[in-house]
Symmetry: C2
Subunit: 202 residues, 2 copies
């Protein structure tokens, strides 16, 4: 399969590439570097990106920003960061990619464990991740030509504990390689409209 | 209690008012008519609205628009309708209302059964409703001064079958008065961060 990985330079993105590239042609995509680049917050950038990609069998997104901060100073503008990047960036990659994807292909988006399990400072993440999962459930039932659409919802990954660990005290992290399994399940399996939740014991 | 009902003129909104006004002071709010008016898509209108409302004990929102249409012609602009109205309209009513709400008060938002159970033409509704529920889960844990935050997720209501029935063939509708019970449970109970799902047998 020809598989596009958007966010290939990130912690989980690299693990997804590693898990797929022994069996498949993997096109690594980043915002500023990679086989191709795309700014997922820009529909025009996505259009230009797909003109260069051509036909493909699977697209995995392991990218998207959200704001972290306390509720008592949360603004509508803070929430727009996630809506524009992690939500609509991924949604537009799907909607605009429908013309290029081969019959029976798959899109796999990323949400995150905070969708179900909130933490302090995480309102925007919980809202945005839930919206991504809603889009996946909603759009999967109308996908044409056997195209599938899933999400992967990873917990905090071990490699990111230095950055985010203090927000996730008591959470059981998983290695990025485990989070990557969700993408492999989605791409190589038959599921659609599903959220693959990748987490530890708590 | 002084309870604000935004969307008081709608089918479910009227039922919410009926269920509450025998025991409470209910302020009925609509876009164009009511005791007060507010355009929930406009943060400035919400600011002006709260200046007139003053302090209150509970706010229930039974309003918000989303686009319905097939996936194969769905655009980012179509999705923005729900993000701006049903999602951020409700979110801004909460964030901007935090200054006015009394200790131990409650906000109750509306999502909808499509959050969990998608139908044809419903991608925007599923995505938007899921986002509303995500906001509720995410923000509830950081609410100050004992303020609670819940959502009600009603299925298709009997009174709306003439308009929406063809999209919900086989679904078991409930009367709007049953959907209103979710708001009563949220306002009069102790729950927070919860989604009250109001539906029939299927």
């Amino acid at each position: 399969m020809k598989i596009i990985v958007v966010g290939a330079n990130g912690t989980i993105g690299q693990a997804v590439v590693n898990a797929l590239e022994t069996r498949h042609e993997v096109v690594k995509v980043g915002r500023n570097r990679g086989d191709l680049t795309v700014d997922m917050t820009s529909p025009e950038s996505i259009t230009a990106f797909y003109e260069r990609v051509g036909a493909f069998d699977a697209l995995a997104v392991v990218a998207g920003e959200v704001h972290f901060g306390p509720l008592n100073s949360l603004t509508a503008a803070d929430l727009q960061v996630g809506l524009q990047s992690k939500l609509m960036g991924q949604v537009n990659l799907v909607l605009q990619g429908l013309e290029n994807i081969n019959d029976g292909g798959s899109f796999t988006l990323i949400s995150g464990v905070l969708a179900d399990d909130p933490i302090a400072y995480g309102t925007a993440a919980t809202m945005t991740n839930a919206a991504v999962e809603g889009f996946v459930r909603g759009a999967a039932v109308e996908m044409p030509r056997g195209v599938r659409l899933n999400a992967v919802s990873p917990t905090i990954v071990t490699e990111s504990l230095d950055s985010y660990g203090p927000y996730f005290l008591g959470w059981d992290p998983v290695p990025a390689a485990k989070a990557a399994l969700g993408f492999v399940r989605s791409i190589e399996g038959l599921a659609t409209g599903r959220v693959f939740s990748i987490k530890g014991v708590v």
